[in-house]
Amino acid sequence: MNQSPRYRLNRNTFGRLVLTDEAGVAHEAIVPVRSFPISNPSQGIALVDSHGHELGWIEHLTDLPEDYRALIESELASREFMPEINKLLKVSSFITPSTWQVETDRGEATFVLKGEEDIRRLSVTSLLIADSHGIHFLIRDRLTLDRHSRKLLDHFL
């Protein structure tokens, strides 16, 4: 059901999202923020201005007209960075800090795990690993990893 929103959205030449509200005021550098980035990413997206004030609320992306949705999706895609680990290639040691070499859905990468407490359990099988710079790496289902990866991972769980 497409309910057309009471604001207008477009992208300016500086690459920023601009929201024009009912009163015709343009707010530059609008940022879409997911409310539940991990537990339910597609529900509840807030449009927030550069001061952190909420200007719009999107209950669900499918509520939006096609062009707006594309705009917001592209903006989200350029901000969201949670590589999903498909394979553990090497860990420098089983004692932290440890340097991990992994294969992710965004290519091969290396990161430093500061301590075991940076591995957060999302569910029984999925894990979220924060590296030393605070980037989160996701393991969607550790049981589907290959044997070698599981063995390496097991040392840290």
Partner: protein, 764 residues
């Protein structure tokens, strides 16, 4: 064009230097470069952005073409970051020309790239160059100012992350070293007592061959011979008893001391770690590590390791004796040994991982308790006892599950060793009988062998237990050394400068602080004169407390520098520096002890007169006298209940007693009602007099005494001035003040909530 004043850089990453050099014209110099590790679609990739003396050059992934942007007016390079990923953007006056993404590991070099870019643009546009902002030498990687006589940057050093070695247990040697002499004596005693225990089986051989078998063959028993052999047996037993006692006592003594040293060293180290560490670790886990783990290590050293050492010595000696009696039979006897060794090795790895898991899960169980019990009022108020019980049950369930898995391997282990023992004995019987039949050995020799290897295999069986205890102890050692290896993120300067007296001038230059991926403050420039009172004002989350924490050096700045009397605070010894600072917090913490002890916490040798004077100045004297035991009344967790205002005045007295040059009041009056606040305010006025004071207060009215108010918003200074000036300006402060004066608390809260909201996509 005149000579470009900035010195070029040469240390390009080797993988890029060839491709880049081909791009450069002959006299073009590189001023800054940064390696980019993501592409625009946020795939891992590699790229390079370079600032030369005439243009900006960039290339993504090797072999691709280079793009260039010659310097021209209006070009702007900016950086912003969100959730660990940075965005470096190039604009001209009309549009965004391009952008690059990178992980925040490269954040500092990006900042330098931008600085260099700005300098070059400036130079090309105006023909002039701005003088470098600092007279000090700066660290090439993090731009921290270096102490004059130091080449290596004290800030960068701490970021080297080398994982500790896997032979963790050997690292306990550091604690054993002071007891070398006693350990050596213990070892010699072990050798002797073990040798003594090996005498009795040896004597069974002549006893059998020279006494019992001749008697069976009809000869009478030689009484003298029997007496000699039997007294030999008794003597050996008594010697073994005495030596065994001496050895065990000596070594237990040493190991107990090693354990105590380990515990106190770990605790002392833990206390010196920065607040960042305590923020990230949970109390239950830390307590378990220092209490239970050191105890486990201690037990391992005093009991298991000692037994193991004895066993090894016994096996070695037994082997020598057996070989000297009959090499062939000895060979057959010893064959199962390598098999068992191999079995032990096989199980070792699995068990170690298993026991580490058990430890971790155990800490988790503790954490559930540490979370819930302090919050018991909330649990009860929301009637969630069942849920909390279920949470504990779940943690225990996981504990069981993992223990079950470990025990599956472990339970198989001991019976296997026993089986091997039996088989080994059988082999010796078979081979021995065969040799006797061929008259190669006597019955006595076989008896002696069986007696020896009976013990021998019993030892092997108990030795196999060492695998598990060693692994447990190694896991414990690792967890202890995790703490010991943790270098404080607020490192002690290697070359400290001493400031015996402090005037109290504080200077912040380009100070920035980043917590994880969130940058909390940026570009703070502020000079506080000695004796000046500064009020920090802003919504919660605006960085007031962060700034205070930075000045106290609970954290170190991520960028920039904080100077006290012109000295970098990082170059001062931490304890000495903090002696100059008095801190009064929102929630005063009183330790268990008397009021006098609590007031004298920062200066334990203070006289009673000093304590009373401080208490008077803090307006605490009178209420203290009303307590049944006066200054000797017990307070703290198990002591006398004091009201918030009373506790606060005690903590003010505590700060007054150390007579600090710098005073920090972090929301000192906000947790009490307005009447109490007036009392505290009077106490504070005494405290503030003549000291450099930095006060944070939520109620703006309490800051009217301040010489200057610093208004912070989202980690930046937005306004500076005294109350009247700021009110006249009708800016940020005016709005804040109005909101409070109108007593529209709701609006204020709403604003606060918005400011606390992760400040997304903050432009640098």
């Amino acid at each position: 064009m005149s000579q470009n004043p900035y010195s070029p850089v040469t240390n390009l990453p080797s993988s890029w230097s060839e491709s880049l050099t081909a791009q450069l014209s002959e006299d073009e110099n590189i001023f800054a470069w940064v390696e980019i590790d993501l592409d625009i679609q946020l795939q891992f990739s590699s790229g390079l952005v370079v600032v030369t003396d005439r243009r900006l050059l960039a290339s993504m992934s090797h072999g691709e073409t280079w793009q260039e942007w010659p310097f021209q007016p209006g070009l702007k390079l900016t950086q912003r970051d969100y959730a660990g990923v940075g965005n470096l953007e190039l604009f001209d006056t009309n549009e965004r020309l391009t952008h690059w993404r990178y992980r925040l590991g490269g954040d500092l070099s990006v900042s330098r790239l931008i600085a260099s870019f700005d300098q070059q643009i400036d130079f090309h546009v105006t023909g002039k160059f701005s003088a470098p902002s600092y007279e000090h030498k700066q660290c090439p990687t993090c731009a921290a100012i270096l102490p004059i006589d130091q080449e290596e940057c004290p800030v960068c050093e701490k970021q080297a992350q080398t994982p500790p070695s896997t032979w963790t247990i050997l690292r306990l040697w550091r604690f054993a070293k002071p007891y070398k002499g006693r350990l050596l004596i213990g070892f010699l005693l072990t050798l002797c007592s073990t040798a003594a225990t090996l005498v009795p089986p040896y004597l069974t051989m002549p006893l059998m061959d020279n006494v019992l078998i001749p008697y069976q063959n009809g000869q009478p028993i030689d009484k003298d011979l029997v007496t000699m052999y039997l007294s030999g047996l008794l003597g050996a037993a008594i010697v073994a008893w005495i030596l065994g006692w001496a050895r065990t006592y000596m070594l237990a003594l040493v190991s107990e001391r090693i354990g105590a040293d380990l515990r106190t060293t770990t605790y002392a180290h833990l206390l010196n770690l920065s607040q960042e560490y305590f923020g990230g670790k949970r109390t239950g886990d830390l307590m378990a590590r220092i209490g239970a783990e050191t105890d486990r290590i201690n037990l391992f050293l005093s009991l298991h390791l000692l037994d193991f050492a004895t066993d090894v010595i016994m096996i070695a000696m037994t082997a020598i004796i057996l070989i000297s009696i009959n090499p062939w039979l000895a060979l057959v006897t010893l064959v199962p040994l390598p098999i068992i060794a191999w079995l032990i090795h096989l199980v070792r790895d699995r068990l170690r991982i298993g026991f580490e898991k058990v430890d971790r899960i155990w800490a988790e169980v503790n954490n559930v308790l540490a979370d819930t019990i302090p919050g018991i009022r909330v649990v009860k108020a929301f009637a969630q006892e069942k849920r909390e019980a279920a949470r504990f049950y779940a943690a225990n369930q996981r504990n069981l599950q993992i223990n079950d898995r470990v025990n599956r391997v472990w339970s198989l282990f001991t019976p296997t060793v026993t089986l091997l023992t039996e088989i080994g004995l059988l082999v010796v019987w078979v081979f021995g009988i065969w040799q006797i039949a061929k008259d190669e050995i006597s019955v006595g020799v076989l008896t002696a062998f069986l007696a020896y290897i009976g013990r021998f295999y019993i030892r092997l069986d108990s030795m196999s237990r060492i695998v598990s205890v060693t692994q447990k102890a190694a896991a414990g050692t690792k967890r202890i050394f995790d703490i010991l290896d943790h270098v404080s993120s607020v490192p002690e300067s290697t070359n400290p400068v001493h400031l015996p007296t402090v005037k109290g001038k504080i200077e912040l230059r380009n100070v920035g602080f980043r917590y994880g991926t969130r940058s909390i403050t940026r570009d703070i420039n502020l000079t506080i004169q000695p004796g000046e009172m500064i009020g920090l004002v802003g919504h919660s989350g605006s960085g007031k407390s962060t700034l205070v924490n930075l000045i106290c050096r609970f954290y170190d700045v991520s960028e920039g520098i904080i100077l006290i009397d012109g000295q970098d605070i990082r170059s001062l010894p931490i304890a000495e520096y903090r002696k100059h600072i008095g801190l009064v917090l929102q929630e005063p913490f009183l330790f268990f002890g008397t009021i006098a002890e609590n007031i004298a916490y920062g200066k334990p040798d203070a006289t009673h007169a000093e304590i009373v004077a401080a208490a008077r100045a803090a307006h605490a004297h009178e209420f203290i006298l009303r307590l049944p035991h006066g200054y000797d009344s017990l307070v703290g967790e198990r002591g006398q209940a004091l009201s918030g205002g009373e506790r606060q005045r005690i903590s003010i007295a505590r700060a007054l007693l150390i007579d600090p040059r710098i005073l920090i009041l972090d929301e000192a009056t906000s947790s009490v009602d307005t009447t109490t606040e007036k009392d505290i305010q009077k106490a504070l006025d005494n405290l503030v007099r003549g000291r450099t004071t930095i006060a944070i207060a939520h109620r703006l009215s309490t800051l009217r005494e301040a010489n200057r108010l610093i208004v912070l918003d989202r980690g930046r200074i937005v306004e500076v001035g005294n109350h009247a000036e700021l009110m006249a300006r009708e800016g940020f402060y005016h709005r804040l003040y109005q909101a409070q004066a109108r007593n529209v608390d709701t609006e204020d809260r709403a604003l606060e909530a918005a400011a606390e909201h992760s400040v997304a996509g903050d432009l640098k």
